[in-house]
Symmetry: C2
Amino acid sequence: MKAVTLQDLADTLGVARSTVSRALRDDPQISPTTRHHVRRLARDLGYHPNAAARALTRRHSGVVGVALPRSAPFVFANPYFSTLLEGIASVAEDAGVPILFSASPTPDYERWLREGRVDGLIALGYGVRALDLEQLEGLAGGSAAIALVGAPPRATELPTVIADEAPGVATACARLAAAGHRELALVTGPEGAAYARARASLWRASAASAGMAIVATLHGDDTQPGGAAAARHLLEQDPVADAWLFGNDAMAFGALGALEAAGVRVPTDVAVVGFDDVPPAALLGLTTVHQPIRALGEHAMRLVVAALRGDTAPDHTFSTHLEERRTTRSAPSTPAVSSHGVTEDVT
Amino acid sequence: MKAVTLQDLADTLGVARSTVSRALRDDPQISPTTRHHVRRLARDLGYHPNAAARALTRRHSGVVGVALPRSAPFVFANPYFSTLLEGIASVAEDAGVPILFSASPTPDYERWLREGRVDGLIALGYGVRALDLEQLEGLAGGSAAIALVGAPPRATELPTVIADEAPGVATACARLAAAGHRELALVTGPEGAAYARARASLWRASAASAGMAIVATLHGDDTQPGGAAAARHLLEQDPVADAWLFGNDAMAFGALGALEAAGVRVPTDVAVVGFDDVPPAALLGLTTVHQPIRALGEHAMRLVVAALRGDTAPDHTFSTHLEERRTTRSAPSTPAVSSHGVTEDVT
DNA sequence: TTGTAAGCGTTATCAA
DNA sequence: TTGATAACGCTTACAA
């Protein structure tokens, strides 16, 4: 039951184990015959190089870690992360790089880098706190290949993959204004999260310049139940805002369910706009700000793979746009009902 | 930029590195003072044990591999796998076990085990072929901790986590029959997949004993577009079966889209039943056979973690049930329209 | 309680 | 082209 080692091969072949090692790795200076013999024996005996020993001498593991921002139930229940992982994993697959992950909220990932368990790291979203960021920057100064996905808590030199949210938000506001909305409700992400704050102020600014106001702001937790709860709160207000903006699609899904349960018609009574455009959004006909999630993941892994090879991958700027579906109403074709000039807001 | 090693600590402290090693690991026989000194220095210098060296001497890595059945885009686009991973990852998180994965279709995982890269393995679904199965059985005879999720291609001694599909399917057929359906269409999974074949014959048998017949069978590819394509085919038949059974929810989602595009009303014109009950199914109101996907994943990881510790986890049988939602019609409350005796089929 | 020394399985350097 | 041999960083008998 013991594993076959290089020494075993060397012994039964009567050669030095360095010879075997070389034969197995296409070392240019090795006789074709011995190479052949060694390989045949290796196959016959089922030899597999020990990963730990190899990593120890080579001083790298060939593995890339992915740091998830929260615990497993949250991350895997959220299609945003699945889609990000889809992008990450598909590039990793092509590059032949195995991925190590743990959903632990503890910053295990920094330890992994230091322990040599992984050579590179992709840190997702608000899993990165200001404190960790400093550590990561130090590590990156060494040989670690690091990429961040999503807005970090502060400006950093670390390669960061992010999409410009302004275009999508601006279009959304323009459309909402054109459809006659004037007072909106906003359900943002967790209070502490930098990205949520940024997104919220972007919505506010865009709404203002489209001639609308945000009359109610709630903090959600980025989950579907959280969105449902927010919806119930919003429904209690008087008057109820007739267009609701969400910090992500998951919350919008929850709200849609709550709205249906309450017998409120969408988009007739209230319009709903999500954020991210995760796959189920299309299924449900949710109008949402589209982010190229999968492409973000792909690019992050590409950056890391390139850094691992000592190369540097080209930078790329991602954008967003509005995906208009069935949870918002379009601008009235006949301006009969609305007041004059309303349609001027449309871009 | 070089990493701090045990030797470094030993040198600056003037002790042997074995002493340092012991002090760092709560070795019972070590003086509290030296232990304290060592630990303080370790913290100050930012010492982190090298994972490769440790794995090399300890002969295990502490990592568990997850073998995905297909390539990344397929796996992560499918909520079934996300949910499975949710269960797997949440148990792993509690146990402090990192997860290594690659979505490569090649059986890399068997190599991983032999290379000592992972100590245990969870192989998902039809990623396991008959050939690999033999290898895995051999490995499990050694010290490898292996668990399978989903029906393997043939009977095996390997711990397998699976849900009994019969109850859910039986109820579905009973309800369909009660609602007046007599001729069904079935869209199964990939032709070669063992699980798809099993599921198909279960549907056939259950339908028959509920007095219905399956008049059309199509092979889908378990994806949403595949389901949409299947739906278009089914719509061309004459007459169109008025209840459609799908091998998984993803295909049912695709079909629902195609049906809507074709202007066919669900469930009035055709009833749709999915399989798995992935999260979006509830969102869409899809009637489907519920599998406890997350629990399956949790249990698989529990089996592996237990095996890693030399323990043995309790066996558990999972079941299925029908989740009735809006894509099937219920039995008529007044038996006026249907012939006598129809409602007798209801359990 | 601590030190010495022999591995763990591989790679790499230097001779031969 | 091949062979010794010294790392790589840690653990673990066995001594002291």
